[in-house]
C-alpha cells in the first residue's frame, strides 16, 4: 500500500490546560478530499491549527507524518513551504500591510524555498488578477490592508484567493463556509473545486453539511469530544444533516467503546 500523504496517530493536544484532542487517528491519501464534521467544541479547529503549526497548542502525545516527514517537528513556516495551507476561520487584520504585498511575500517565500527566483511585481499582479477572477474578488481588496475592514465574506474569499495563488499540496479549510451567504458559499466552493486534482489533498473542517452540496468529499469523519468517532463516505454528511450530532452521541453511548 502506498503510504498516505498525511498520517495521524494517537494525537493528543492540550490548549491552556484543557485536553481538547484525545487521540486522533486519521489517514488522508494524496488527491483526496476529506470532511471533518462535528459540533462546536469538538476539537475541529484545534486539529486544523495543530496541523498548520500553531505553537501555543501543546501536543501531549501522538505523531503526524506528512509525506513521510515528522510534521510536528517542523515550524509553521516550514510546513507552509512544504505545501501545507490553512484557510483560517478568523483571518487576522494586519494594519498598514497591503493584501497584495503579503501575498507576494508569501508567494516568493515559497518560490525561494523551491530554488526559484522571485516573481517581479508586474508578473505577480498578472497572476493574481487571473486567479482573482476565480473567487470573484474586487481588485481594490488587493490594495487594502490585510483583512482590515473586510466583510466576513471578503475575508473568506481572500483566504481562498491565497490558496489558489499559493497552490498548496495539502489545504486545510477551517470552517471557511461558516457565516457565508449563498453566493459567497458558491464562490468558495468554486475555488475549492477548481483546486481539486490528484496532486492536491484537502481537509474541509465544517459544522454544516451545506458546503458538501457543492464539494463532494471522498470521506467524512465525525469528531466528537476530541476523537474521531465515525468515518464513512459522503452519505454520512447527509445523515448528520438530517439527524443531528445528537444521533451519533446517543448511538455511541449505547455501544461499549472498542478498545
Amino acid at each position: 500500500m502506498i503510504s498516505p500523504l498525511l498520517s495521524i496517530r494517537g494525537l493528543q493536544v492540550r490548549v491552556a490546560d484543557k485536553q481538547i484532542l484525545r487521540g486522533i487517528d486519521l489517514d488522508v491519501g494524496a488527491g483526496e478530499v476529506h470532511a471533518i464534521m462535528g459540533p462546536n467544541g469538538s476539537g475541529k479547529s484545534t486539529l486544523a491549527q495543530v496541523l498548520a503549526g500553531r505553537e501555543s497548542f501543546e501536543v501531549t502525545a501522538g505523531e503526524v507524518l506528512y509525506r513521510g516527514r515528522n510534521l510536528l517537528a517542523m515550524p509553521a513556516e516550514e510546513r507552509a513551504r512544504a505545501g501545507i495551507f490553512l484557510a483560517f476561520q478568523y483571518p487576522v487584520e494586519i494594519p498598514g500591510v497591503s493584501n497584495v504585498y503579503l501575498l507576494k511575500a508569501a508567494f516568493n517565500a515559497l518560490r525561494k524555498h523551491r530554488g526559484l527566483p522571485p516573481l517581479d511585481a508586474m508578473d505577480f499582479l498578472k497572476l493574481v488578477r487571473e486567479k482573482g477572477k476565480l473567487v470573484e474578488m474586487g481588485e481594490e481588496l488587493l490594495y487594502r490592508a490585510v483583512n482590515e475592514g473586510f466583510s466576513g465574506g471578503e475575508k473568506k474569499r481572500n483566504e481562498i484567493l491565497q490558496m489558489v495563488v499559493l497552490e498548496p499540496k495539502l489545504a486545510i479549510l477551517d470552517e471557511t463556509d461558516s457565516g457565508l451567504d449563498i453566493d459567497a458559499l458558491r464562490v468558495v466552493a468554486n475555488g475549492v473545486n477548481a483546486m481539486r486534482s490528484p496532486e492536491r489533498t484537502m481537509i474541509l473542517v465544517t459544522h454544516y453539511q451545506r458546503l458538501l452540496d457543492y464539494v463532494v468529499p471522498d470521506r467524512v469523519h465525525v469528531l466528537l469530544q476530541g476523537r474521531i468517532v465515525r468515518s464513512a463516505g459522503q452519505e454520512l454528511a447527509l445523515e448528520l444533516e438530517q439527524r443531528g450530532y445528537g444521533w451519533v452521541e446517543s448511538e455511541l453511548a449505547e455501544q461499549p467503546r472498542a478498545t
Binding site: 498548520a52 503549526g53 500553531r54 505553537e55 501555543s56 515550524p75 509553521a76 513556516e77 510546513r79 507552509a80 513551504r81 495551507f85 490553512l86 483560517f88 483571518p91 487576522v92 494586519i94 494594519p95 498598514g96 500591510v97 504585498y101 503579503l102 501575498l103 511575500a105 508569501a106 517565500a109 515559497l110 524555498h113 490592508a145 491565497q162 499559493l166
Partner: protein, 482 residues
C-alpha cells in the same frame, strides 16, 4: 519560548553597526563649565561680540534654572562639570577647511557611515553638512546652492558671513531661556547647520546634516537654524550616530525653523544615536528642543521623525502657528528596545485664524523599553476656525515593555475643532502565525507588521530616507513575542 520568539530574539540582538571609534587628533577644552570656558569657545570660533554676550546671558540664566524632571524617564543625575563642551578635529592649516585639509580618517569615518563627503561620490540630490563632535567638518554642494541664492553652511560660517541673518533669527523661536537644555545649548553650542532659502526659491535638492559624536566624555550641543523666506520651499534631513561607549553622553541640540508667508519647510530626522547595550549601560541622552514658527500666512512646517536610537529621548518638535491659515504637522515613529526610554511628542500652538495641525505618533516598545507620547494642542482666543487631528498609536512587542500617552488639549476659542484618536495593540501571536503559515519567516513577519504599523509616517519621509528608516527598524527591533 516559541520558535517565533527565539528567531525574534536573534534578530533583535544584532549589534549596533555604527559603534566604532575614529582615531582623530582633537582640539578640546578642559571638562567643566564656567564663563571662561564659554569665552574660550567663542574665541576659538572667532565670534563677534554679540554672540559672546548672547551666550553669557544664556549661561547666567541657565545657572538659575533647574533640570526638568516631569518627563516619564529615569536616569542618574548628570554631572555638568564632567562634560567636555568643545572637542574638534584638528585642522592642518588655518581658516576654512577644504576637503584636502581634512584628516583622511575623518573622511573615512563618513564613508563608513555611508555619507561620502566628496561631491563626486556624494548622494545624488542631497547636500550634506557633516558635524563631527563640536564642529562642522564639511558641507557639500554649497557652491551649487549659492547660485540660487541659497545659503547652506555650518553655523560657524554663517556667524562670520551672514551675521545679520543670524542676529535677526537666532533665538527667535527658541529663546535662550526657553528651558534648561535650550539655555545650556545657547551658552555652549559649538556648531550646527544654517540654511536660508530666499524668496520664491524652491530648493533643488534635499539638504541634510549628519551628526556624529566621537570624542569620549564630550557632549554635543549643536544648533540648527533654517529660514524659509516668502514663498520658498526646503526639505531638510537629519541623521545621527555615535560610538558605543559604556558611559552616557549628553546631546542637547536646538533646532529653530522659521517659515515666512507661503513658505514650506519639511524637516525629517532619522535618529540613531547609540542606545546603550541590552542592559542599559551607556548610550546617548538625547535632550533636544526643536520648534518651528509659521510666521507668515499660509506657511507650512512639518516634522517627521524616526527615533530608534539613544538611551533616553526627550524631545517635542513643535510648531507655533502664528500666520493665518498656516499648517503644522508632526509625524513620528519612536522605537524603544532593551532599556531605552523615550518621552516624545509635539506641541501645536494655534495663534492665527484657520490654522490647522496634524499629529500622527507611532510608538513601538520592545524588551524593557518605555515609550511615552506627550503632546499639547493649544488653541488661543484669536485662532478662530483652528483645527487639529491627533492620532496616537502604540505597539507592544513582548510583555515587559510599556507605552504611555499624555495628551494635553487647551482650547480657548469655541470655533476650534480638535480630534484625538488613540490605540494600543500588541503584535499578536495571531498575526505572526498568520504570516508564518503563509511561509514567511518570523523576522520578515515582524518587520512587515511593524513597518505596516508605521506606514503613515514613512510615507512622509523622502524616498531614500524611508528605505533607510525601514532597515533601521529591522535592526533596532528587539524583544520577544510572548
Amino acid at each position: 519560548m516559541t520558535t517565533a520568539s527565539k528567531q525574534l530574539h536573534e534578530l533583535i540582538s544584532r549589534p549596533y553597526p555604527h559603534g566604532f571609534v575614529s582615531d582623530i587628533q582633537e582640539d578640546r577644552v578642559p571638562a567643566g563649565l564656567d564663563e571662561d570656558i564659554i569665552r574660550t569657545i567663542s574665541a576659538r570660533k572667532n565670534e563677534p561680540e554679540f554672540m559672546l554676550d548672547w551666550r553669557l546671558r544664556a549661561y547666567r540664566h541657565w545657572l538659575t534654572m533647574k533640570e526638568p524632571h516631569w518627563a516619564h524617564v529615569h536616569y542618574p543625575p548628570i554631572d555638568y562639570q564632567s562634560i567636555i563642551y568643545y572637542a574638534a578635529p584638528k585642522l592642518k592649516g588655518d581658516g576654512p577647511a577644504s576637503l584636502e585639509e581634512i584628516d583622511p580618517e575623518l573622511l573615512r569615518t563618513y564613508e563608513k557611515l555611508g555619507i561620502p563627503l566628496h561631491e563626486r561620490a556624494a548622494l545624488a540630490g542631497v547636500a550634506v553638512d557633516a558635524v563631527f563632535d563640536s564642529v562642522s567638518v564639511a558641507t557639500t554642494f554649497g557652491a551649487k546652492l549659492a547660485e540660487k541664492g541659497i545659503v547652506f553652511c555650518s553655523f560657524s560660517e554663517a556667524v562670520q558671513k551672514h551675521p545679520d541673518l543670524v542676529r535677526k533669527y537666532l533665538g527667535s523661536v527658541v529663546p535662550p531661556g526657553d528651558n534648561f537644555y535650550a539655555a545650556l545649548n545657547a551658552a555652549v553650542f559649538t556648531d550646527g547647520s544654517f540654511c536660508y532659502i530666499p524668496k520664491g526659491v524652491r530648493c533643488p535638492m534635499e539638504l541634510s546634516t549628519y551628526f556624529r559624536i566621537n570624542a569620549r566624555n564630550s557632549g554635543q550641543f549643536e544648533r540648527t537654524l533654517i529660514i524659509a523666506d516668502e514663498g520658498s520651499y526646503v526639505s531638510y534631513l537629519e541623521g545621527c550616530t555615535a560610538p558605543m561607549r559604556d558611559e552616557n553622553q549628553l546631546h542637547a541640540a536646538v533646532v529653530e525653523l522659521i517659515a515666512l508667508a507661503n513658505a514650506q519647510i519639511k524637516y525629517s530626522t532619522v535618529q540613531n544615536w547609540y542606545p546603550g547595550d541590552k542592559d542599559g549601560k551607556g548610550g546617548i541622552y538625547n535632550f533636544v528642543t526643536k520648534r518651528g514658527m509659521c510666521r507668515g500666512a499660509n506657511s507650512h512646517i512639518s516634522w517627521t521623525q524616526v527615533e530608534t536610537g539613544s538611551a533616553i529621548t526627550w524631545k517635542y518638535p513643535s510648531v507655533i502657528l502664528r500666520g493665518d491659515s498656516s499648517v503644522g504637522e508632526f509625524y513620528s515613529v519612536a522605537l524603544t528596545n532593551h532599556r531605552q526610554q523615550a518621552d516624545t511628542g509635539t506641541k501645536m500652538i494655534h495663534l492665527g485664524r484657520n490654522t490647522s495641525s496634524t499629529i500622527v505618533s507611532k510608538g513601538i516598545s520592545a524588551g524593557f523599553g518605555q515609550n511615552t507620547y506627550r503632546g499639547l494642542v493649544k488653541v488661543m482666543p484669536r485662532a478662530a476656525g483652528a483645527r487639529n487631528y491627533t492620532q496616537c498609536d502604540s505597539l507592544l512587542l513582548g510583555e515587559r515593555c510599556g507605552a504611555h500617552t499624555f495628551p494635553y488639549i487647551e482650547v480657548r476659542n469655541p470655533s476650534a475643532q480638535v480630534e484625538h484618536e488613540a490605540s494600543t495593540s500588541r503584535i499578536g501571536e495571531d498575526q505572526l502565525f498568520y504570516c508564518m503559515q503563509r511561509g514567511i519567516s518570523a523576522e520578515d513577519a515582524v518587520s512587515m507588521i511593524v513597518n505596516g504599523f508605521c506606514r503613515e509616517v514613512f510615507q512622509e519621509l523622502p524616498m531614500e530616507f524611508a528605505v533607510e528608516a525601514q532597515k533601521l527598524l529591522g535592526i533596532s527591533l528587539e524583544g520577544s513575542i510572548g
